[in-house]
Symmetry: C2
Subunit: 401 residues, 2 copies
């Protein structure tokens, strides 16, 4: 029997999805599972998007252009303008989710062995896409105790060598909810300019910023226009995770030409997803506002609730809909498994994503979990209660001195 590839072995399992079989087994035992693990919003997709799908008037579900429909890209230009991001339709390439945008950015910009600096904890799948491209992620530590703010420039420079090709940020951040400040963004800009690096910036959560601080897009940074590759997706913006529509945006023509070759190879992004995504751009203001208000409420509910559980600590996330919280446990993965395999409270349990999967540094985040606040407030309250009960019973509980 032939062997599988080294990269197939090295690919990490998704920390968000790998415990899914345990959750399924728990459900099969009749246990209700509160999903705090996955960033699947429970809020409705805009009606304009569902209607566009229901009203589809085509005889043939044909290929779309490899770059995505021009009509959709034109409308996106206006969307970005609202965020002071000035792009042309040519700068935009529609992808199969933000995932494909990351993969094609890596494939087009990085050679095997090239290094990308990523603040950790980081969205776990970046690691997977780096392995796919043969590139190497070098993480720069941020800590829960410092609220996941960026370390000083010297820490970055310690990592930079002649294989360093890019910095990757997610802003607002998944998994921490951190929002980079203007000072931090300028620091990144200066590094990118000084070492002529790519800056891959995943900004799919720009709608969800809860503080008065401004959203500084990588596209706002002056003097590095040719270095920036913006990663985007409609998944979280419109509760449209399933339609698989993202975008890769760059002013760099060479990068776009390379990316387009990968796009042509996979022929086209999903047709019906593009129809839904384009329609979503006409979503009424009230939709966005009510979604935003809902997350504001949930964030307050979750973070207050977490910090009231003895031994638990969560910083206050400034954006997105996640937080990384510290739990009084020996090993958060063991704890998460135990919640699904062994524990239940009145027939209910919680599923969380062990944070170790968001770190590459061995041991980092061993007692942390990522929690998504994508459940209704009453469910969040109940889930917090069950988490408290679980922590009271868990045999591996460890209280800090």
């Amino acid at each position: 029997m032939p062997q599988i590839s080294v990269r197939g072995l090295e690919m990490p399992e998704s920390p968000i999805r790998k415990l899914a079989p345990l959750a399924t087994a728990a459900k099969n035992r009749g246990i209700k599972v509160y999903h705090l693990n996955i960033g699947q919003p429970d809020l409705p997709t805009p009606k304009v998007a569902i209607d566009a799908i229901r009203n589809i008037d085509r005889e043939i579900l044909e290929y779309s252009p490899s770059q995505g429909y021009l009509g959709y890209r034109k409308k996106l230009v206006n969307y970005y303008k609202k965020y002071n991001i000035n792009v042309s339709p040519d700068d935009i390439i529609i992808t199969c989710g933000g995932s494909e945008a990351v993969l094609f950015a890596f494939m087009s910009c990085l050679n095997p062995g090239d290094e990308i600096i990523v603040p950790e904890p980081a969205y776990a799948n970046y690691m997977a896409f780096a392995i796919s491209a043969g590139a190497k992620i070098r993480t720069i530590a941020t800590t829960i105790d410092e609220g996941f703010s960026l370390p000083k420039v010297e820490k970055f420079e310690e990592l930079i060598n002649d294989r360093t090709r890019a910095i990757l940020i997610c802003n607002p951040n998944n998994p921490t909810g951190y929002l980079y400040t203007r000072r931090e963004m300028n620091q990144i800009r200066d590094l990118v300019k000084k070492y002529d690096l790519y800056l891959f910036s995943d900004e799919v959560y720009r709608e969800y910023i809860y503080t008065g601080s401004p959203y500084i897009s990588a596209c706002h940074l002056e003097g590095i226009e040719q270095n920036v590759v913006l990663i985007d997706s409609v998944s979280k913006r419109y509760s449209e995770c399933g339609i698989r529509i993202g975008a890769l945006i760059t002013k760099n023509l060479d990068v776009r030409q390379a990316v387009m070759k990968f796009c042509q190879a996979r022929l086209s992004p999903p047709l019906i997803g593009q129809i839904a995504a384009e329609a979503s751009l006409d979503v009424p203001e009230e939709y966005s506002r009510s979604v935003y208000d809902e997350y504001v409420e949930r964030r307050k509910c979750l973070i207050d609730g977490l910090n009231r559980i003895p031994g638990v600590y969560s910083p206050i996330p400034m954006g997105a809909f996640y937080t990384v919280a510290k739990l009084p446990v020996d090993d958060s993965e063991k704890f998460c498994r135990w919640c699904l395999e062994t524990f239940n409270y009145e027939g209910e349990t919680v599923m969380m994503a062990p944070a170790s999967g968001f770190y590459t540094t061995p041991g980092a985040g061993y007692n942390q979990v990522r929690i998504a606040y994508v459940l209704k407030k009453e469910d969040l309250i109940r889930a917090l209660f069950i988490l408290r009960k679980a922590l009271e019973t868990y045999p591996g509980r460890v209280d800090e001195e």
Copy 2:
């Protein structure tokens, strides 16, 4: 400005799509273009699929499982049973088009530098996916004069070395329409077994076989069950190229586990596409029969028509809806460009895919084109007439002695 990657430079442009800007320019000049270049069927998508989309009854367009919906995979089991392919739902992984299935198969099974043997001419995007995975395609020549039949086993063995990891076939073949015989399939089976290779088998055209010869799937070959990875797609079967639903099927658990890590990284295959694809499995028998009958007619019309044009030769394809034809020209790419840029007959022209893009051997196929018969018969007849006129006028005409 940072450099793009070597693989970004090496990626081939799609021979099918790279002339698209010339076609657009021709259309902008008011010229009607008959698209013989692309495998986009003009036949309607089954009504059951469009209806399933129009009747979508969901509030949230959420992620689907990384492996694809179990309900869909269960129904696929019955579909494959009709072709005597016996698989379980667990053996099936739903992908974003057949394209993603090929990419993930390569990523999971091949290390950088590993070699895949592919009979050429071959579907050009295999090259692109191989470059993405850092693998190397070694082509084994088949010729138009021998009707693209497989060379003897010795020719394969000449290419096999310690980096050889796989054989890739497309059956029925894109671009040639060739259908592998039982003898040829047994020859491949023996090679796969002798050298313990993977056999990647792209069988997306199994519905379109026009001779009395049996369809021998790689899954029918005994003794290599752990070596076979089947690539599939609903694109051509149901005129659903735009929904991006394919499948990777294998009995090899190690391969599936590796592929699933790539699947988890990209989260999920398109949701609405799966709904359409699942509904399509209930398509009435008459749909499939009428589509089949239509291609039988068109094939006859196209191949007869081509062989009546002085200097043109096409073998008779046994399956799929393509043929590779030899033209009396100096360079088929120059000719195809000329058809779009310079020529028109009564305001009309034809677009074909230069066959050189389907070969890796330099110079091979220089006077060949791939022609897809996905147009209505009257359009095919008109396109053939225009092709004849173009060949009469083309300044680079070369007649064989």
